[in-house]
């Protein structure tokens, strides 16, 4: 199972990762090897087996829809690389 550079590029784009030419090539090789290794799962008959999405014992807990206080604005903005007093400042999304 060999991935093409285009496929690796596409995945990197989905994951919003900027990769160098070098990294793209290295990942292409490594991911192909790892995906090959996963092929052994094919040999297992899982047609009648339900998936395990969670090993949690209980059901989804609910609470009443009541507002509660959370963190303050200053706490929330404390780690921001760029902000003004109320907002995270970012470059434009649209051209």
């Amino acid at each position: 199972m060999s991935l093409t550079i285009e496929e690796v590029s596409h995945i990197a784009n989905l994951a919003r990762l900027e990769l160098s030419e070098d990294e793209l090539n290295r990942f292409r090789g490594q991911l192909s090897t790892i995906l090959d290794y996963f092929q052994q799962l094919e040999s297992l008959d899982t047609a009648m087996v339900p998936p395990t999405a969670s090993v949690s014992a209980g059901q989804t807990p609910l609470r009443t829809d009541q507002t509660r206080s959370g963190l303050s604005l200053s706490e929330l903005l404390h780690n921001a690389p760029e902000s003004d007093e109320r907002l995270f400042r970012v470059p434009p999304i649209f051209e």
Partner: protein, 504 residues
């Protein structure tokens, strides 16, 4: 004054209450020891001496108040129990750097969180603080807990205190090294694929991975949400049980936190293992295991037998599929969990003109190689056209692995097995070959996939003097069985009392 850093928790608690020494003196002794050992071992990413001394002084004040009022050394007249004080009052601890500590830098071992200061404590951390613990610092970890050696940390590789050229294991390698080198009596770690048990084994300390859902994940920087568990490392089962009692229990802030009751673990000094059925899974001893690891673990199992346990061979036929299943599920979950690191709300931000480029460049520059590799794997496994063949398939095989355990626990109470196929490997030993590193996890991954608890503790050494650990695994919520059995073993053996020779 005894050598304070050599005292166990059960020795420290009464001594602090009686005022034999103060929490400040104890904390300073640990900070001094850290000063001497840290340049070589590199187990901490961030030290918090000011906070630690502040907490120590507060503990000392509480202890003094109680002594003045005739307190801590007094017993309740009817029960003879010591008057209740916060259980870890004045005791220093170390916290793995994936757990949020309010106001103390928390990096998850990544440069993408280089200067992140959480605005809140993780629940597990808060519970230790409420119990009076003193926070010495944040321990080194593979980046976002992805790794088995700390070599993937964005900051440094921790060195195994037993042998400097070798890894301490991972991802909780910093925590394991700290406990082994007596730089703290206790440490919190996390275990998603073996990250408490494997470093405990490599460093000759005791490490517990509780049942999934036992300990709140609130404030744990998420890697694999259906796999992550907060655990504890210490010098003995007794110490680890003390921490477990404090951190376990439902937390409404974690929707996956179990409502299952958490009775306090009481360890009996005179427990026998009579009537305990222990299963030894054949698949964990197949080829590839270091011969000395195999023989030492077999000896330890025989020891359990002399303590009264009934040993039988059992089968967990889907064991070998744990590696591909885990390395599909965990990266898939990680690709979602790590999407939040984008340079917008926290962490450094790369220079760029558009929002999309900010995301791409920040992540491309600040994530390490292994993290990027797993994000890529996970993204691929979840992508359109591939979901069923990869992620969907892995989830079904996960069911088969879980069923193996369920079937086993109809026949036996516990499982005993090696923790890793080898002892601590050399730093750089797996470089350039990620798959060979993944195969190291074969014995620890199944417990995470099934959600069952696992307890690793030292059972011997190889011919190079490197520690060998064994793990016990049990049914969901049966940590008490694991702790009881391992405690009985530690009453008649002294592997857990051995310390690495360090230049002090």
């Amino acid at each position: 004054m005894p050598n304070l850093t050599s005292l166990s928790i059960s020795e420290l608690i009464p001594a602090l209450r009686r005022g034999e020494f103060s929490s400040r003196e104890l904390t300073e002794a640990y900070l001094e020891r850290i000063d001497i050992l840290e340049p070589k071992l590199k187990a901490f990413i961030t030290l918090s001496p000011d906070l630690a001394l502040e907490q120590a002084d507060a503990a000392d004040k509480k202890l003094a108040d109680l002594r003045r009022s005739g307190g801590p050394q007094q017993s309740e007249p009817e029960t003879g129990q010591l008057i209740e004080l916060p259980a870890l009052l004045g005791i220093p601890v170390a916290i793995k750097d994936v757990l949020a500590t309010k106001g103390v830098r928390t990096t998850a071992g990544s440069r993408i969180l280089e200067n992140f200061e959480p605005p809140y404590h993780a629940t597990a951390v808060q519970r230790l603080i409420t119990a009076g613990a003193v926070i010495l610092g944040k321990t080194n970890t593979d980046e976002f807990a992805m790794g088995s050696s700390t070599e993937n940390s964005g900051y440094q590789t921790t060195h195994n205190p037993w042998e400097y050229t070798r890894v301490p294991g991972g991802s909780s390698g910093g925590s394991a090294a700290v406990v082994a080198a007596r730089m703290a009596p206790l440490a919190l770690g996390t275990d998603t694929g073996g990250s408490v048990r494997q470093p405990a084994s490599f460093c000759g300390v005791t490490g517990l991975k509780p049942t999934y859902g036992r300990v709140s994940r609130y404030g744990l920087i998420a890697y694999g949400s259906s796999l992550d568990v907060v655990g504890a490392l210490g010098r003995s089962v007794e110490d680890v049980a003390a921490v477990f009692n404090l951190i376990a229990g439902h937390d409404p802030k974690d929707a996956t936190s179990a409502q299952y009751p958490t009775p306090e673990i009481q360890l009996d000094k005179h427990a026998t293992l009579k009537n305990l059925r222990v299963g030894v899974p054949a698949e964990y001893f197949e080829s590839g295991i270091q011969p000395e690891v195999e023989s030492v673990v077999h000896e330890a199992v025989t020891h359990l037998e002399t303590l009264g346990a009934e040993i039988q061979e059992i089968h967990l036929p889907h064991t070998k599929y744990a590696v591909p299943v885990y390395y599909l599920i965990a990266p898939a979950e990680a690709s979602a969990n790590l999407a939040r690191f984008d340079g917008v709300r926290y962490g450094p931000r790369a220079e760029a003109d558009t929002m999309w480029d900010v995301f791409r460049k920040t992540r491309g520059e600040k994530f390490g190689r292994e993290v990027k590799r797993r994000i890529m794997l996970g993204t691929y496994a979840l992508s359109a056209g591939y979901y069923d063949a990869y992620y969907g398939k892995a989830q079904k095989v996960r069911t088969l692995i879980r069923r193996d355990f369920e079937a086993a626990f109809e026949k036996v109470d516990l499982l005993a097995a090696p923790v890793a196929p080898t002892t601590a490997f050399k730093i750089g030993g797996h470089s350039g070959n990620p798959l060979s590193m993944y195969l190291e996890d074969i014995f620890t991954l199944p417990a995470n996939l099934a959600g069952v608890p696992g307890l690793a503790f030292p059972v011997g050494f190889d011919s190079e003097g490197l520690p060998i650990g064994m793990q016990l695994m049990g049914p969901h919520f049966q940590e008490n069985l694991l702790l009881m059995a391992a405690h009985a073993y530690q009453q008649v053996t002294d592997w857990h009392k051995r310390e690495p020779a360090l230049d002090i």
